[in-house]
């Protein structure tokens, strides 16, 4: 499904942030990426998405055998990639629902499917909003405009639910969520997840992984994945931090 091989990337001043990432994600898997601040977790998501602030120095990222790095940003999304950033951008004036409909129909056009009409989209949107316990106010607002941190994260998962991606890369989706919101968002992700899809979660805390059981846990440090393991690794990291990994080496 998603295959990242020896991915290296740097920022404008030439500083290399990703120094050779390797990650294989298969359908039905949930991968958790953990690591100290500044280790490259958010950079990884942005590089895969095609953010123009980053330059790819080498390696490949393939989704179902197609090299994402050769695609335009929108083509990557329409091919089945969904990236939720740590701080979702606010876009005042662009209506949330119109944006969602435009995004969905862009994907459908890319896949050669007919445009979804207003009535069908409204039904789909309401269904997903119910799933995430979102009230009607979200429909009237601008994209992430004036929303709290938690509301933005919920809005991101609504987009994920509607766009139905093959692989979702969720960067610190649990930050800014209170206990109830965390449960609702996690339930939403679990509901969207299926044996044909995969999720990569970036998190600092075990609490999200209490709700979404990871297949694998990886530690990213200094731009490389330095350790991988099962769900028990997250518990150990929560208990002991990261320093023991390097000391053990």
């Amino acid at each position: 499904m998603l295959s990242i091989k020896n991915l290296k990337a740097s920022i404008e001043d030439g500083t290399q942030i990703l120094k050779g990432i390797n990650l294989e994600v298969k359908p039905g898997e949930v991968h958790a990426i953990m690591g100290p601040n500044g280790s490259g977790k958010s950079t990884l998501s942005k590089v895969i998405a095609g953010h123009p602030a980053y330059r790819v120095d080498g390696g490949s990222v393939e989704l179902d055998g197609k090299n994402l790095l050769e695609m335009e940003i929108n083509e990557r999304a329409n091919s089945g990639l969904f990236i939720s950033t740590q701080y979702p951008t606010e876009i005042p004036g662009v209506n949330n629902v119109e944006f969602l409909k435009m995004a969905l129909n862009s994907k459908r056009a890319f896949l050669g499917l007919p445009e979804m009409g207003d009535a069908e989209f409204k039904k789909l949107c309401e269904e997903k909003m119910d799933l995430l316990e979102m009230d009607a106010r979200y429909r009237e607002r601008g994209v992430n405009d004036g929303m709290s941190g938690g509301e933005k994260k919920r809005n991101e998962i609504l987009q994920m639910a509607i766009l139905d991606p093959k692989v979702s890369f969720l960067d610190e989706t649990d930050s800014g969520l209170d206990i109830d919101a965390l449960r609702i968002v996690a339930n939403g992700i679990n509901h969207i997840m299926s044996p044909e899809k995969a999720v990569i979660l970036v998190t600092h805390y075990q609490r999200l992984l209490d709700y979404i059981k990871p297949t694998y846990v990886h530690v990213l440090r200094h731009g490389k994945i330095i350790l991988s393991g099962g769900p028990e690794l997250a518990l150990k990291l929560e208990d002991q931090g990261y320093d023991w990994i390097e000391e053990a080496k």
Binding site: N74, T89, I91, F99, A103, S106, Q159
Partner: protein, 349 residues
């Protein structure tokens, strides 16, 4: 007061005499410092030969008319000098009117006297143009506590040169909302002189320019706060592509003894190309301490992070740009009350 106002309007001869006195607009004249003045054709009556013929009869009359002798704006005098006969319309106190105005030819002059407490929605349509220059003048006197909206959102116009001049006088408590969308492809100038003469009068100005090609559009506003607790708002937004050029020359003048005045001016421009340009000149002349006046100006490109966000959700770049441009444009008119003006302007955006 209104009868006196009409009586004091300059005659064609007086306007011609005053224009001769002023001469053709020059870049060193503050009123025209941003305007491509070389593009203004010299009217026949400005020629030296014809000037001589007019000289004796016209000049003496002009000196007797205070309004004509004080008028300094070429664009305000031009329609009258070109024999635009004023269309005078009285709107009685307390009435509610929706109207559309359209001049019959290149030069139009409209005088509107709006009575106390009237509610008026006035849309200005493009006039019929046959020459290479058009100029319209509007004198609008707004009575106490009247509520008036003036707006235009005409289709893109390729007139070589167009002037629109508004002279607005507001009595106590009068509220005027002036809103416009311009997509013209040639050269134009909208000038507004607003006199807030009565306590509590409010003037709200909103303009949106969406220009491409070699369009060159210029706004000149002067708002005179002549009474206590008067308020004014200016919001100008520009979306410029190609070689398009916009200037915004906005003055706020707060008089002596005008306590509690509140005024704001904000110009936001998005430049979509390397060659598009904007010039902004805010002027604040404040002769009283207890006032609040602000001005701001931003120039930039479409927000790169917002673009990335939209495109990363699968939306093609061109469509994402259009979404952001539309939202930028719509925000110009979002705060307006739900009136015919807002409906019309938002539908045009």
């Amino acid at each position: 007061m209104n009868a006196e106002f009409i009586q004091n309007l300059p005659t064609a001869e007086q306007a011609i005499a005053r224009l001769r006195e002023l001469g053709m607009p020059k870049r060193n004249n503050e009123l025209w410092s941003f305007f491509p003045v070389a593009k203004i054709p010299t009217p026949e009556f400005m020629d030296a030969a014809s000037a001589k013929a007019f000289a004796t009869s016209a000049t003496s009359d002009a000196s007797e008319n205070a309004a004509a002798s004080q008028e300094a704006d070429f664009a305000a005098l031009l329609p009258i000098a070109n024999l635009a006969r004023p269309m005078i319309r009285e709107i009685v106190a307390g009435s509610a009117e929706m109207a559309m105005l359209k001049c019959n030819n290149d030069f139009g002059h409209t005088v509107l006297n709006i009575g106390k407490g009237a509610k008026v929605s006035l849309e200005i349509l493009d006039n019929k143009v046959t020459h290479d220059i058009a100029a319209e003048r509007f004198d609008i006197n707004v009575g106490e506590n009247a509520d008036v909206e003036i707006f235009f959102a005409n289709p893109a116009c390729d007139l070589p040169l167009r002037f629109r001049h508004f002279n607005i006088n507001q009595a106590a408590g009068a509220n005027v909302r002036f809103s416009s969308i311009c997509r013209d492809t040639a050269i134009g100038r909208v000038s507004v002189e607003c006199h807030l003469k009565g306590e509590g009068a409010n003037f709200d100005y909103r303009s949106l320019h969406v220009l491409d090609g070699n369009a060159s559009q210029h706004s000149r506003l002067t708002i005179y706060h002549e009474a206590p607790r008067t308020t004014s708002t200016q919001l100008a937004r520009n979306l410029l592509s190609g070689n398009a050029r916009v200037s915004y020359d906005g003055s706020v003048i707060v008089g002596y003894d005008c306590t509690g005045v509140n005024s704001s001016q904000l110009v936001n421009t998005i430049l979509m190309s390397e060659d598009a340009s904007v010039s902004v000149k805010p002027v604040l002349k404040i002769y009283h301490d207890d006032v609040e006046c602000t001005h701001g100006n931003t120039v930039g490109e479409l927000d790169a992070e917002q673009m990335f966000y939209l495109v990363s959700r699968g939306i093609p770049k061109q469509a994402a740009q259009e979404m952001l441009m539309r939202s930028f444009a719509q925000e110009t008119f979002l705060p307006l009350p739900e009136t015919p003006a807002k409906k019309r302007l938002m539908s045009e955006v």
